[in-house]
């Protein structure tokens, strides 16, 4: 077990390093724009641009710059500075925006599991029933809708300021809320929107897992022994059907943090990492974009590391493969 963890840890570190290199290349080699000029910004003379080029060492060869970047990241988690925000450290900006994003994501995870598990299980048990067919088509429709559009529709229907039925706080409510409960209520609509698509995917996944598990021999044996159906489902079926969901969850939280969350934050104007990224893109604030992408990658790698180790602990066979 220890050896497995050590090996897995080593790979995670290597992976992070490679990811860092890839991201660095993307943002420092690909763009045709001159970083010194971007940094110099408004009102800069040719001399000023040159001075900036020198003081930031933008003339150094790419590997020297990369080494400097890695050193900064490793020693003090220095992700650079944002040109368009008075040279504020990217790290501080990210940590400042993190709570909103974490709150959005965690709430959504809880919500989608709370929806997906019962829906998936019931559909699997009542297979081919009207209920099953309706939920499956409904979930497929939710999967087919872009999350940002769902957000707009939800706001149009339910937002307090502009909605047809004024129930939930609308755009920008999170920034304005001063109490924790205020923030929670501001998050209700974003949670629903963000959770719905993923809940649909999970419901379908859990359903197919359940169907598979329920046709296994040991379930049949249990049924033959006269174990009540409810108990069979809960004790045998659900447990083995949900184990792979844990893995999926580990990956999805990471992806969500850095994926759909951007769109949701943009629509609801939540001051999280995703919204920050969207505005950084608008301003071509490369260092900030790069920092956020890297931070997202850190998150995914670490989460998948945790999930792998957990899984190895739960299922000893994994270690030897």
């Amino acid at each position: 077990m220890l050896r497995y963890i050590a090996r897995r840890l080593l790979w995670a570190v290597a992976l992070l390093f490679i990811v860092m290199a890839v991201i660095f290349v993307i943002f420092n080699v690909l763009p045709t724009a001159d970083p010194a000029q971007l940094r110099a910004g408004r009102g800069a003379s040719v001399e000023q641009i040159e001075a900036i080029r020198q003081s930031y060492g933008l003339d150094d060869p790419i590997y020297v710059r990369f080494a400097r970047y890695v050193e900064g990241v490793v020693t003090e988690f220095d992700l650079g500075t944002s040109i368009f925000q008075n040279n504020a450290p990217v790290r501080d900006i990210i940590f400042d925006r993190l709570p909103a994003t974490l709150m959005l994501t965690l709430g959504a995870v809880i919500l989608w599991l709370a929806i997906a598990i019962p829906v998936g299980v019931i559909s699997a048990i009542r297979r081919r029933s009207l209920l099953d067919r309706t939920t499956m088509i409904a979930t497929l429709t939710l999967i087919s809708a872009p999350v940002f559009w769902l957000g707009l529709v939800a706001l149009y229907l339910f937002a307090q300021d502009v909605g047809l039925i004024s129930i939930f706080p609308g755009i920008g409510a999170y920034s304005e809320a001063t109490t924790f409960m205020g923030k929670v209520s501001a998050m209700i609509l974003p949670w629903i929107v963000l959770a719905s698509a993923t809940a649909a995917i999970y419901a379908r996944y859990i359903r197919s897992q359940m169907i598979e598990v329920m046709s296994e021999d040991y379930i049949r044996t249990a049924r033959a022994k006269g174990v009540p159906e409810g108990l069979v489902v809960r004790r045998h079926g659900l447990r083995s059907a949900l184990t792979p969901v844990v893995t999926l969850l580990g990956i999805d939280i990471g992806v969500l943090l850095a994926g759909n969350a951007i769109l949701t934050e943009t629509v609801f104007n939540i001051p999280g990492i995703g919204g920050e990224l969207a505005s950084a893109i608008g301003q071509s604030d490369y260092e900030l974009i790069q920092g956020i992408v890297l931070f997202g990658a850190f998150f995914i790698v670490i989460l998948s590391l945790i999930v792998d180790i957990l899984y190895a602990y739960l299922d000893p066979r994994v270690r030897y493969t």
């Binding site: 990811v19 690909l30 763009p31 045709t32 497929l140 429709t141």
Partner: protein, 312 residues
Amino acid sequence: MAEPQEQNPWRLLWQRFREDRLALVALGFVVFLILVAIAAPVVVDLAGAPGPEERDTAALDPVFATPTGPSSEHWFGVDQIGRDIFSRVIYGARVSLIVAFSATLIAAVAGVIAGLLAGYFRGWVDTVISRSVDVLLAVPYLLLATGLAAACTVAAAGSEGGGCFGGLLKPGLGVVIFVIAFTSWTYMARIVRGQTLSLREKEFVEAARSLGASNTRIIFREILPNLAAPIIVYSSILIPQVILYEAALSFLGVGVTGEPSWGQMIDDASDNFQDQWWYMTFPGLALVLTVLAFNLIGDALQDALNPRTRKS
């Protein structure tokens, strides 16, 4: 060489697919959509709607110049500057479908090549390819794509040129397709690699090898034909994701410009959706219906391929 399987796998796939009536309807819708996209000018003309770039200033409020909603003249209403949303939705199908098919094609080809190489040669080739996939999966794809697209588009136009790779990749449709393909091939590569790993141990491959067939021949003549069905199926699953992906990029302002696209229309509409419900509604519905149709087809194809998990 004799066919390794008794029955034509395509016919089998089609037979099973045909049983899913909903999927057939979806297929019909997709075919219809493709026709509409190709014949967009004719469709718009037949409907009596103005072209997608035509501004009807009479459809704007006389004092505040705000747009008006659905009417007999403009079925889906008009946008901020008086353009007909119906005709823009029709034309928008073009961008969605072009991106969907070409990005999927590129991702599939790249994924198949990578998967075949990794699965067939194993060893260091496999290590390199699989690890690259791991790296790409570790980078949040939407972040990477938006960053990449932003990096490629910002220096656009003007006399200095722009885009990526010293101007090789021009901004616009090309960047969008490239970015989507670049972050989508990993899925196909993983599946093909797994399948190849098991196929290369099959008897008919062993037999070909003992007859002295070259690696190229084995890959193209023995393994690839047996992968055709799964490749088609998993490509069909990729298509709806790509459409959503393109819409998300457009929504974040790094998508296709210069021609109407659904994602971009929703982005435009998001500024004023409270008052102009029609502007976000119609492109959004077009998007949902299209993606849903592709999802239904993909689902049915997948069920047809793996009858064990079939729904009915």
